[in-house]
Symmetry: C4
Subunit: 248 residues, 4 copies
């Protein structure tokens, strides 16, 4: 078995200068934003990525049909702007797997002409945040002014931080290949999906992309998630547990 399998469902010209990564992570902030953008920009799935570095399981959908765990590449070209998306339900289940998968993500990006990657994620601070910033990192110093102009903050720089997983390695291994990398991290408690954080991140990202996007459905999705969280919390309180559980 190949360690990573990439299956394209189309083979016509799929090039795009930009890839947006929104794999699962802290507070699922990146995933929320990427899934929203795919909806708004009418993205179409063009490739599926499966790997023995993903968890060994299938997911069962609402029809009772199983689907191999995988990540997906979408592409949209609304208003003449081509954008690729890397989304899905899982990151690697092992440390070396993160490197192996990210190199394949970059192979795909290179083969489709990608010159810039936006890696989206959350920045967990361990407490609720009233006005969540969009903290940022870049893999080439010259990218910083553009990010700051769009509202990205670099106040986290200098705190000896690290960025773990696909988001971090897309910037690190991307730089080796000369691909620009910008990581946007919505400040968030880390305990719950954070609509304000995702909303703010979307604002900065859409300015960087030069694309106007409606935020309504993201706010709705976040609202539904908040209701779910509230119900879970009530159920937990009913059981007499007091600590806030991780929901993501």
């Amino acid at each position: 078995m190949e360690p990573v399998t990439v299956s394209f469902s189309r083979d016509d010209n799929l090039d795009a200068p930009v890839l947006i990564e929104g794999l699962p992570g802290i507070g699922h902030v990146g995933k929320l934003v990427a899934d929203h953008l795919i909806d708004e920009l009418e993205g179409e799935m063009i490739a599926e990525i499966s790997s023995l570095h993903f968890p060994p399981q299938v997911v069962v959908d609402e029809q009772g049909v199983t689907h191999l765990v995988n990540n997906k590449v979408y592409r949209s070209e609304k208003n003449g702007k081509a954008v690729l998306f890397l989304v899905g339900d899982f990151q690697s289940s092992s440390a070396p797997g993160h490197y192996i998968l990210t190199e394949r993500y970059l192979d795909i990006a290179e083969s489709l002409g990608v010159r810039r990657i936006y890696a989206l994620g959350g920045y967990g601070v361990g407490h609720l945040v009233e006005n969540p910033r969009v903290l940022s990192a870049v893999n080439m110093e010259r990218l910083r002014p553009e990010v700051e102009a769009a509202g990205g903050s670099f106040e986290n720089a200098g705190s000896e931080g690290v960025i773990v997983g696909a988001s971090g390695l897309l910037l690190g291994l991307g730089e080796v290949r000369g691909i620009e990398g910008i990581c946007l991290m919505g400040e968030t408690s880390g305990y719950i999906a954070d609509p304000k954080s995702a909303d703010n991140l979307l604002s900065v990202l859409s300015r960087l992309l030069g694309i106007e996007v409606d935020h309504t459905s993201l706010q709705q999705r976040a609202g539904e998630m908040e209701q779910l969280i509230a119900r879970v919390r009530e159920a937990e309180e009913a059981k007499g547990r007091e600590e806030l559980s991780y929901i993501g």
Copy 2:
């Protein structure tokens, strides 16, 4: 050393259209049913599978003779219906190993002309179940009506479930090869081997196979297991432990 070794003990025509998987899992429901069917249908062992992805150990039999840990393929052809079985004592000891082993299981299935796989397992609910359902999943939507007609329930669909290990991957990776996959999961507490659950699963499966099977010895085996559990539980209570231990 090859990561997986398959040794066939016969090389005549071993084809069969159907493979039934009953490897160990929750409540050993799948294993109970598969072992029972092999007995009833007079299955014959045709291949052994050993692998460095299994635990590094041998089992000692009643004569004091050691046997390398392995899984086995059986074949029966009672009343003109050829059926293959994949059974054994172990699943992979690592996440990537599940993928590697399942691809080999599918290689065997393909080479023997298998067009449909039944993956049997348990569906743990964490509490005793009076009337255990046979919850189901399929890897192609068109298989669902047939399963429902045989008594399989899809009430679990929509709960965002996953199927872990060989059962899940046989459906997920099997679909890629065009092999039909039906997973039948006997609802069970997850704490103890559940005779009712296995009995119900066998009913649904035999309808799907179009085979009539005597349930007596399965009920006996389950009865013996219940007695063993009762003795273990008494011994534990005698030690003053109150929590119900996992027995499988």
Copy 3:
């Protein structure tokens, strides 16, 4: 780097019909017996085995000189009987590594004409044993009478036991190559090195080998170990800890 490296220090005729394995395990019973036999039979080291499946460390000897972690093959030919020994300080640090290392041990055995392997170990019972038995397992049923005649017990058969690690796999993977395998396990508490257990095991083994061996130094070594254990225990009691710690 090769996963396993074998360095022979001699290349003349090193054949021997028998290999005795005494790698570390429960109560270090096997190791105690094998090290004693090497002393008594004046064994000479003929090969060293290093591997990335061993722990990543060196040991520092009494002169302050480091030695790469490895296992060793010794050979003795006292009184015309050639015997090989597989001893050392470590087993594999991973599950697949056990398989990979054991296959290499068997490659060495086959290349030196070995037709029978004695795998020595301990059989932990969790409490002190007054008259420790030498419990046994074989990889071919026809070997059983010979072991019983030498005093090996098969009373453990039928308890659904497993033999983990190199000892188990030497029998299991050895059988595939047609090499006879006999596992002798000295019954022991599992908490402390057990001189009586090692002494009894040596008696059974020397009958099987047809070799007379002096037991004195083994009893001395065991006595020293008991004194060490007593000192450790006193120190622990002085600290007010009451549970018996694992010493091996």
Copy 4:
């Protein structure tokens, strides 16, 4: 992806007879000394080493720019003495990775003509030490007198110690290649970075190298670290925690 990637930034004559390793370890003693020597001897970075055996992450610098996790080789040639350094932020994230990375470190050393390696580290004793010794080990017995003459102690020999990770394997695997290896371990509590220990280690090392080095900035750096530790400790005490946390 290659398991280990080595990128040289210069390809002119980079030979040196000596390599000093100061990767992270107990009390960061080795790292403190190596980083200090690079400063004092005006070392220049000549190569970067990245690997899927490192943690899957990037570090964010003070400008908000990401850097792939890697180790680095520096070279200095002050006063005509050429010295190489192996430093960085990480060791392997897995046991086999330690072997694989160390073999590559030795490939680099061999290709640059290195005949001796100094592996620097800490020797944790679990309590504060008034006058920390520089405990030593060598991979060839003939090196011992030279180390003792420079003030290295071998009082640890005979305590059945092991040296784990890159430091140990550089000596063990280096010996196989005929490269001299000397391990210097500053005695330290293991809880906090220990300026006295690093200071003493530097004295022994500079005697062995025949290089005079100013200690001032090491003492300053250690002083700053001590202040940081004091602040952390105060903060912890304010939170009512009493156990001393690991800071490194």
